[in-house]
Each structure stands twice: as C-alpha cells, then as structure tokens.
C-alpha cells in the first residue's frame, strides 16, 4: 500500500459575537476593573453573571458589584500550558468564588507550584494591563492573604459599554484524505485522472470517495478516465471572488470525463464565455507545476450527442 497522504489543515475564525445587557455590563466592568454579579429570584448572586436564571429560566438583570477577592473552590495543576491559555508558565486552573458571590468563576491561578495551591485558599484578581472588555481582562488570579477587598459601590452603568467580542479560534489538523482520495491525488501528480467503479451498479466515481453513495458499498476497482470530456451543464460567473485571479465573466461547468459515471467541476477557458454550450468537447489544460488542471478548453471535436451524456446531468 502506498504511503498515505497527509497535509496540515488550519481552521481559523474570528467569531464576532454580540453581547446581551448582562454580559455587556460584566465585560465592560472588567475593562474598568469592576466585577459584577447578577441576583437570581431565589436570592443568590451569580458570578459570572448570566441573563437567565439557571433554575427558573426567568430573565434576570439585577446587577451588583462584587469584590475582586475570593476563595478557591476547586483547582487542578496545569504543568504544561497549551496555546491560548491565560499563562504560558505552569499554573493552576481554579474555580474561584468571589466574595459576595454564590457561584464560582473559572480562570487561571498563578502560583509557584501545586504545593502552593489548596482548596479554600484566598486569591485576588490580577488585572491585565491592556483591557478591552473580555474575560481575558482578568489576566489570572494570584494568591492573596490581605484583607478582603470591598466593592466600590459601582452601579453597573457604564458610559461606553462593550457590545460585542471577537473570539479568535484556531484549530490545527493533519488532514488525511483516506485511501480512495489519496489514489486520486497521486494519479493527478502524473496528470492522470483516476476514478473507482462500483462493483454493483458499475458506475465510475470521479473523484472517488471510496463508497458508492447509491449502493452504499465500497468501491475499489480503479479506472482511468478522460482526459477528454463533455460539458454537461454550465453557468456564467459574473462576480469576482475575493483573492481569485480570474477575470469575469468566466464559465464554470460540469464536465463528464470520458468513461466517468458522473461529472466533476471545472472552469472552461480558451473560448468566449458566451459560446460555451452543453455537449462541448473539452480537454484539461495543465499549467507548469500545477497539481490539478487549471481549466478545460475545447478540443475542436464535434459536440457530443445529447443522448451520450443526458444520464450524467
């Protein structure tokens, strides 16, 4: 079996999220070094605050200021911090019940080692120097053995409230396309197009994914198709895509390669866009060092008869 193909795949998004009134007040408060909680109907104070009572589901927005000092309710020692976590030196994850709150907030606790941390220990907020209105405005917690801090009597009203956050997310993968698609990609490096035939319905799938979606069984028999094919249907693209170096209008088509049981997608070039038609015979055009055909161009053959490709539309 040939070596399996693998390539890095990075999925990265800047999620833009809007905030409700309670989240907005809480995160704006962090920007201003003020911690806010919210009262529930049964008299508890939730920190971090939420907009709906976790017991009754009633909307709540009765904000109250909370002290930046508190007590660790549970913790876990993280000796190998990972990307994106609050500290890049070993730290404790901790749930901290701030003074005046009935629930605990999750954050990092900066301590020299696990022996310096215990449930019940006193801690206080260490503020980030640059604060934007995000949970990371709390840089971390730190051990604290001074007097309890007192709230300043803040009302929870701010002049310039934060109304949204941008939550960056990045995940790294090592993508492997599996047996069938690996074979397809390998063949492309020799400028050949290889599909797989279903042992039951005899259809040839290009690109192959290893299964016949009609019969639900594995495909395995490799079949070389093309290089020539027939345009089965097409559309004219009039809007230029971002970062795409192709002049509009251009034609994007379904192309049934000779011997294939279904059509694949490709751009049509070498012919004015308004002369592309169903049944047009085309062949791939490879550019230097390309890993797949850049586009397909007319072969000059007579158009294919409709009956030869009508099942492939």
């Amino acid at each position: 079996m040939p070596e399996v193909l693998k390539a890095p795949l990075v999925v990265e998004f800047p999620f833009t999220r809007s905030l409700g009134p309670v989240q907005s007040a809480f995160l704006t408060g962090l920007r201003e070094r003020v911690v806010l909680g919210v009262h529930t109907g049964d008299g508890r104070t939730l920190v971090p605050p939420v907009e709906y009572d976790p017991v009754t589901a009633e909307e709540i927005r009765d904000l109250v200021e909370i002290a930046p000092t508190g007590t660790v309710t549970t913790w876990a020692w993280n000796h190998a911090p990972r990307r994106g976590q609050p500290l890049d030196t070993p730290f404790a994850w901790a749930l901290v019940r701030l003074d005046g709150a009935d629930t605990a907030l999750l954050h990092a606790l900066d301590a020299p080692g696990p022996e310096a941390v215990h449930t019940g220990m006193r801690v206080r907020v260490r503020w980030a120097e640059q604060r934007t209105g995000a949970i990371t405005d709390i840089a971390c917690f730190e051990p604290y053995d001074g007097e309890d801090a007192q709230p300043t009597g803040h009302t929870g009203e701010f002049e310039d409230p934060v109304t949204g956050i941008v939550a960056h997310a990045r995940l790294d993968y090592s993508y492997s396309p599996g047996r069938a698609q690996s074979a397809y990609i390998r063949a492309l490096s020799d400028r050949r197009t290889v599909g797989e035939r279903c042992p039951s319905c005899r259809k040839v799938y290009v690109p192959p994914r290893g299964a016949c979606p009609t019969c639900g069984i594995a495909t395995g028999e490799q079949v070389e198709v093309g290089p020539r094919g027939t345009v089965t249907t097409f559309c004219i693209v009039n809007i230029k895509a971002k970062n795409l170096d192709i002049e509009v209008p251009y034609v994007y088509a379904h192309i049934a390669l000779d011997g294939a049981g279904l059509a694949l997608h490709g751009r049509i070039g070498g012919i004015p866009y308004d002369q592309v038609r169903m049944g047009l015979r085309v062949e791939p055009v490879w550019t230097e060092d390309s890993r797949y055909p850049d586009h397909y161009r007319p072969t000059g053959e007579p158009d294919a008869d409709y009956d030869t490709y009508k099942e492939l539309l």
Binding site: M1, V4, L9, V11, F15, R17, L19, L46, V47, P48, V50, P54, T73, T74, W75, A76, W77, N78, H79, R82, R83, G84, Q85, W93, L95, R97, T103, A104, L105, L106, H107, A108, P114, T119, A134, I135, T136, I165, A167, L171, D172, Y173, S174, Y175, S176, G178, R179, A180, Q181, S182, R209, G210, A211, C212, P213, T214, C215, G216, I217, A218
Partner: protein, 349 residues
C-alpha cells in the same frame, strides 16, 4: 408508550489511535454492513436513519454528508443527524419509531480524533463568552471535577487508579478495545489526573439497528427492549454546578425507570476515572452491578460514538443472554454536563 422498541443488532470498529489510511466513510462502511448483515436487512428496508458526529473533529463543514455515501442514500431515504454522540441520535430514532412512522431504524456514529488535537477541539463546545477564550482543555476540566471529589473525601488517587485498572482488565475480553490489560497509571496530565485516568484518543465507529414490536422478534432471537430512555442537562456554567454529583444523570435514570428494579449490568460513559465515581453515586449502584464489562470509555473512546457504544454493548449482553436488565449511560459536554440513560431488558428466560 404504545410500542415496544428494541436494539436488535450492534456493530463497532476496532478502535485505534490513528486510521490515516481511511476516510471517515471508509472507516464507517464495514460497520454499517456488519450491522445490516446481522439482521439480514438492506438499506432499502430501513425506515429511518440517524447519525451522530462532529465537524470539529474532522475540521470540515458538513462532514456527515460525506459519510452518508456509506449508507446508500438513493433512492431517497428518511435521514437525520445530530452534532452529538450517537446515543442522542438513537434517542431521536427511538422517538421516530414511537410515532409509528417507521418500524426499523439504523443509528450510527463515528469520530476520528486523530487528525486534530482533541483537547483543543473540545474547548470549542464551551461558553464562548466567559470560558472558551481561556482555552481550558477537556482534561483540565475533568481534573477540576476530580479534585472536587478528592476534597469532598469521595475518592483519592489510588481509588481512581483502581477504576482505570479494573476497566482495562475488563477490556482484555473486548477485541475492539484500544487499551487493555495492565496500563501504566502514568504521569500527571493535569493534576490530579494522570494519563491512566484519561481515555485513549482514537478513531472508531459504531452502529445499531432498532426495531419495533414483532419486527424486533423477527430480526433478533433475544431483542434488547428499551424499557425507558431519558436525557437531561445541567447549567453550562461549571461554577454553578456541584461537580461531585450528577443530578441530571439521576433524574434521567429515574425517568427511564432505572430505579424500579435493580439492573445487573451497567455500561457507563465515563471517559475519566473520577466520572465513574460521580455516576455510581448518582445511580445509587451497589457492588452487585457489573459496571463496564466492556472496559468502558477508558478502554476505547471514539468521540461521538462512545456513548452509542455503551448502549450497543449493554444490548449485546442481553442478546447473548449475559444480562437480563442493563443500564446504558451516555454523556456529552464538560464534567458530565449532559446525560442520557437507557434501561434495556431481555425477555424472561
């Protein structure tokens, strides 16, 4: 409830650390064929198909639609998907069969954790405002729960090591397990959890077939009747919950009828050793219950399939006559946030 519904067949892959040579559908397809073969059914005979998986594991959108190639979706089938463990797909299928709109259902689930970093991937299911920006990984959150239990005096590190050892010893008899036999308890990953307290990271798939009433008896010599099934969720804020208890599991079990009579077997979805301690308490188990005879999630943990496998393993024991009344549990989310409990019974012998 007007119809009796049973699990009539179960199949799973051998769970492995990586399966680079297989796409998701290539990994899943043999399991689909096996479960159909066990009943003699063909895709066209299945009334409803439902699956569980996660795009975040694959790192690509709508990855489940590609897996449908392995089902054979032409002519058109009645199909649905949950972005959750397959146990919840089974719940949806069970509901569909209850309505009488279908008599049989195919439920499958799969997950390939190997392409990405599952500890990081799972942070994306957390509260996006207050928690996810801190990137607390799945082991860290489980470790907070373990420490809470230790502080409460409900377990200690040797007891957790014993849970791991028992699970992996039980997995000696499970040819599909990824980790079996003596496995070193290992170094701390996030203290107090060591490598041995954590599930293996791996790839795998599972499938079951459900059938209603007489159809179940035709398809299986000893159907595993679902006597009750229920799922419950707790507040997403970890600091709002008592991490040493699982009231959602207890409530789901009560509504599923688990406490009406004792069960002889339980398949618990406890990916971390400390979570088994929480679940045993929530389910009021004594030593008469055989817990995770398959080895459980500590022996194989294909994410999105591990909960469905608990139901499948419990049902398979009933099929084989090794259990008469079994409880199956599945979980989702950090620190046992969401819990599903099913009670399965065989016909009296």
């Amino acid at each position: 409830m007007t119809r009796d519904i049973a699990v009539v067949a179960f199949a799973q892959t051998d769970h492995r650390r990586t399966s680079d040579e297989l796409s998701e559908v290539e990994m899943l397809m043999p399991v689909l064929h096996e479960v159909l073969d066990r009943t003699g059914l063909k895709t066209a005979d299945i009334g409803f198909t439902c699956s569980g998986s996660s795009d975040y594991l694959a790192g690509r959108a709508f990855s489940f639609t590609l897996a449908l190639d392995g089902v054979g979706a032409w002519p058109p089938i009645s199909e649905s998907h949950v972005e959750m463990d397959g146990a919840w797909a089974l719940y949806e299928a069970w509901t569909k069969l209850l309505t009488g709109e279908a008599d049989t259902a195919l439920v499958y689930a799969y997950g390939k954790s190997s392409p990405g970093s599952v500890r990081d991937v799972l942070t994306r299911q957390l509260d996006p405002y207050y928690v996810a920006p801190l990137w607390p990984d799945s082991v860290a959150l489980a470790a907070l729960q373990a420490q809470a239990l230790i502080d409460a005096g409900e377990t200690d590190e040797p007891a957790l090591a014993a849970v791991a050892a028992r699970s992996r010893a039980a997995a000696e008899d499970n040819p599909h397990a990824q980790l079996r036999g003596p496995v070193p308890h290992g170094e701390y990953v996030v203290r107090p959890l060591r490598t041995g307290d954590c599930p293996p990271i791996g790839d795998g798939a599972a499938a079951v077939i459900l059938a209603a009433g007489e159809r179940a008896r035709e398809l299986c010599a000893r159907p595993a009747w679902i006597r009750g099934i229920d799922h419950r969720i707790e507040a997403h804020g970890l600091g709002v919950r008592d991490l040493t208890d699982s009231p959602s599991t207890r409530l789901a079990a009560e509504r599923a009828g688990a406490f009406e009579r004792p069960v002889d077997t339980a398949e618990l979805h406890a990916p971390f050793t400390a979570q088994e301690v929480v679940l045993r308490k929530a389910l009021r188990f004594d030593d008469t219950v055989s817990v995770n005879p398959s080895g459980g999630a500590l022996a194989a943990h294909p994410i999105m399939a591990a909960g469905l496998i608990r139901i499948g393993e419990a049902a398979a024991r009933i099929h084989r006559g090794e259990s008469d009344r079994a409880l199956a549990h599945a979980t989702s989310g950090p620190c046992l946030q969401q819990n599903l409990v099913a009670v399965l019974e065989g016909d009296p012998r």
